[in-house]
Amino acid sequence: MAALLQVSGLHASYGLTRVLHGIDFAMDEGTITTLLGANGAGKTTTLRALCGMVKTQGQVRFSGERIDGKAPEDIVRKGIAHVPDGRGTFVNLTTEENLRLGAYTRRDRGAVEADLERVYGYFPRLKERHTQQAGTLSGGEQQMLAVSRALMLRPRLMLLDEPSFGLAPLIVRELFEILRTVNAKEKVSMLVVEQNAAMALELADHAYLIETGRVVLSGTTGEIKSNDAVRRSYLGY
């Protein structure tokens, strides 16, 4: 079986500053992969590169098809949803309008209504606040909204940039539980960037460690967890 996502020799730069120096990794359909790395290693940039938000060189294949060089609005139509760094909330729109925008490219209106109820089922808080201006939601609520907006696409692959950012520990557990459920029940593949390496390694099947724009270590989460360097730097024990 060909990999769902196959990245080879991915370079990316902001202006003249090159940030990614040839990233290689792959993930299979239905799996959860996590990218670990220190601040500034290039994790956010990698996710941005995958969905066409920064200029890149190298190859990105999704389901065998080249998607590098395509625009974000075309890549999302392939079924890749991005929960961006900073949440990307439409602050002047209501919670529900934000969610509906997640399904903007879908044409199955009836199923979209059902999915709205489905994400409200995951995050009842959002339902309570469905007419509230999204910019006035708390940071954690906006994070839930960002994840929900991505779910509204019914994506094949979700790119999650620090989904636990700003969430209370209890809510983080809940969110990761929901991600696990979505992955198991709906076969949505996920590529997760996390500061909370312990939680991410718990959730994922595979992990890649990125340092200054290069993959320096990869393996199953079991292997990575038992790596001494990772333990010291990212797990803190």
Binding site: C51, M53, A71, P72, E73, V76, R77, H82, P84, G88, T89, F90, V91, N92, L93, E97, R100, L101, G102, Y104, T105, Q133, G135, T136, L137, S138, G139, Q142, R149, L153
Partner: protein, 289 residues
């Protein structure tokens, strides 16, 4: 008393026209954070197109509708061909492009149609139909304005495309991530603004007559209206339009006379900018930091 009522109603009629044009300004402002100084000339050009159609023998309302469509297309084309290339240029460069557009439209119209003043027909009868305090055209213009405003409101509030346009204007990056073609939304916004401006032009032309400079004063009032209401608030701009129209008429009739009327707009603009820069209904954006 009757005179007062008459002046208020007349003010509402022109106010509706300012409101439409103010709304067109706000639509472009929200998407680009720039004030389209050429909005008035685009409306003027559309009105000349309507005049040509009517003169060629087309009945008023079909000519009206066709003009709205043509204005829309003109707006889209202007965005694609002239505005798009300077998308990422510094603000001043874009302002120069707007002013160039203003001058070009003005002189091209003058060249095609000459600068002599023409009369423009009203679709409403000459005898009063809405009672004695307001001419039929004034009453009709208020009606047309309200219909346009209602249609725009319904479009932006309740249709997926309207929602997408609002999203694209607010947060282009996130909009692209959910699949919205932001560039086209901008072009559509220009088209809609131009169409609304075209309606305003056709409604004001029977009052101010048709000439290439007819929208200069109107644009100034519309700009004042948009600032009074808050340049980022469509409802505020509409309210501002009606307010400026009524104020202009009352002050002109009872206080300062017609000669100084245009100065009212400028005083309002400066006054608002000094006292309340975000306008009276300008969104004090509620975001968490």
């Amino acid at each position: 008393m009757q005179e007062l009522l008459h002046q208020v109603l007349a003010g509402l009629a022109t106010g509706g026209i300012y409101a439409s044009l103010a709304l067109a300004l706000v639509m472009i402002y929200q998407a680009t954070h720039l004030v389209n100084f050429a909005q008035g000339e685009m409306a003027m050009f559309a009105t000349y197109l309507a005049w040509s159609l009517i003169n060629a023998g087309m009945p008023y309302w079909p000519a009206f509708l066709l003009t709205v469509v043509l204005a829309f297309v003109l707006g889209v084309v202007i965005e694609r061909v002239i505005i798009r290339p300077v998308e990422n240029a510094p603000v001043l460069a874009v302002v120069v492009v707007f002013i160039a557009l203003l001058v070009i439209l003005n002189s091209v119209t003058g060249w095609i149609y000459s600068y002599t003043i023409k009369s423009f027909p009203s679709p409403f009868p000459a005898e009063p139909i809405f009672g004695q305090y307001v001419t039929s055209h004034q009453g009709g213009a208020i009606g047309v304005t309200l219909v346009v405003l209602l249609l725009l409101f319904l479009f932006f509030r309740y249709t997926p495309l309207g929602l997408a346009m609002r999203a694209a204007a607010q947060n282009p990056d996130s909009a692209r991530l959910v699949g919205i073609r932001v560039g086209w939304m901008l072009a559509l916004g220009w088209g809609l603004a131009a169409a609304v401006g075209g309606v305003a032009g056709m409604m004001v032309a029977p009052i101010v007559f048709l000439d290439p400079n007819m929208m200069g004063g109107v644009l100034l009032y519309a700009f004042a209206a948009a600032l009074v209401g808050g340049i980022d608030n469509p409802a505020g701009a509409v309210f501002g339009g009606f307010l400026v129209g009524v104020l202009e008429n009352l002050l002109g009739a009872f206080v300062i006379g017609n000669e100084l009327k245009l100065a009212v707009a400028l005083v309002l603009i400066i006054g608002v900018l000094v006292v309340k820069p975000s306008g009276f209904f300008g969104k004090v954006l509620v975001t968490r930091v």
